[in-house]
Amino acid sequence: MVLYFLTLVLFVMGVYCLIAKKNIIKKIIGLTITDYAINLFIILIGYRANGIAPILFKNMTMKELSEQGVDPLPQALVLTSIVIGLGVLSLMTAICLRLYEKYKTFDMGEINRLKG
């Protein structure tokens, strides 16, 4: 339980950084931290006590795997989630560079032509 809660704390820290910080690069870092939190949470919920990786090697029996293997589905989800995070990060960096070129600053406090 405590582990789950700590990942949620990590998530909240990331969201705080994403929303409250003014610097654009800090915002990118916040996004990365939220990604870590959610990925770790999903892997944690799939862990089986004393589990092994869900990969069959030649010297293993099927029974061993099905009784001890950790949940493979969350791992598949996290693989997808990591790549999505990478994609979002690259798009965000591109927008940041363009914003820097246009406004000459990384400070969101000065990037305020729109009222919101």
Partner: protein, 200 residues
């Protein structure tokens, strides 16, 4: 045993993130973020997810390189501090409430180390026979849930395409009607020319 280890690792990650969020130096901020990522991949390795650990380490390296290369060099790495008290206080209250509810909610989840595995047990037992792949994660990613992976490849494609679109020289057509569609990697002269135009 693993509980204690993960607990220490998570505390380490929280401290690392706090440094990454609050430090004034950009470079140390990015590097602490990278350290947190490395800790995450260690945690994946401990939790029986070597596939994810490999991917996480490699992606982490790439993220760090992109962040340092693309953003740090053009900033003077010092941040001017705007302490917006209202925003900070209101978000702290909101996040505090969120954490209280989250703390109550995680009590109802199955205990750590005892997942339900209603669907996944079948994957473990029949993946080899149904798909022929020894790596169960691979068989789930590319066969049982292949449609997700198609979506994931599209997400990567969209984001790369989006980045190229955003880095385009001109958004709207200007004086000359000729095609100014060169995108992405421009020569130095072109950007300089563009910049002169922009400054006018």
């Amino acid at each position: 045993m693993i509980d204690t280890f993960l607990f220490v690792l998570l505390i380490f990650m929280i401290v690392g993130s706090a440094i990454a969020i609050e430090t004034k130096n950009m470079l140390s901020s990015v590097i602490s973020c990278g350290i947190v990522g490395a800790a995450v991949s260690v945690a994946f390795l401990m939790l029986g997810a070597p596939d994810i650990a490999i991917t996480q380490v490699v992606v982490e390296v790439l993220i760090l390189v992109i962040l340092i290369r693309a953003t740090i060099t053009i900033d003077n790495t010092a941040i001017e501090v705007h302490w917006d008290t209202f925003a900070v206080v209101s978000s702290l209250i909101f996040f505090g409430l969120f954490l209280v509810f989250a703390f109550l909610a995680v009590q109802d989840l199955p205990r750590f180390g005892h997942p339900i595995m209603k669907v996944s047990q079948q994957y473990l037992e029949t993946a080899l026979q149904k798909t022929g792949a020894a790596n169960v994660v691979s068989s789930v990613v590319l066969d049982f849930r292949g449609f997700d992976t198609l979506g994931e490849a599209s997400v990567l494609f969209v984001s790369i395409l989006g980045a190229f679109v955003i880095l385009r020289r001109h958004g709207r057509k200007r004086r000359s009607e000729e095609d100014t569609e060169k995108v992405g990697i421009l020569s130095e002269e072109e950007i300089r020319e563009d910049y002169e135009e922009f400054r006018e």
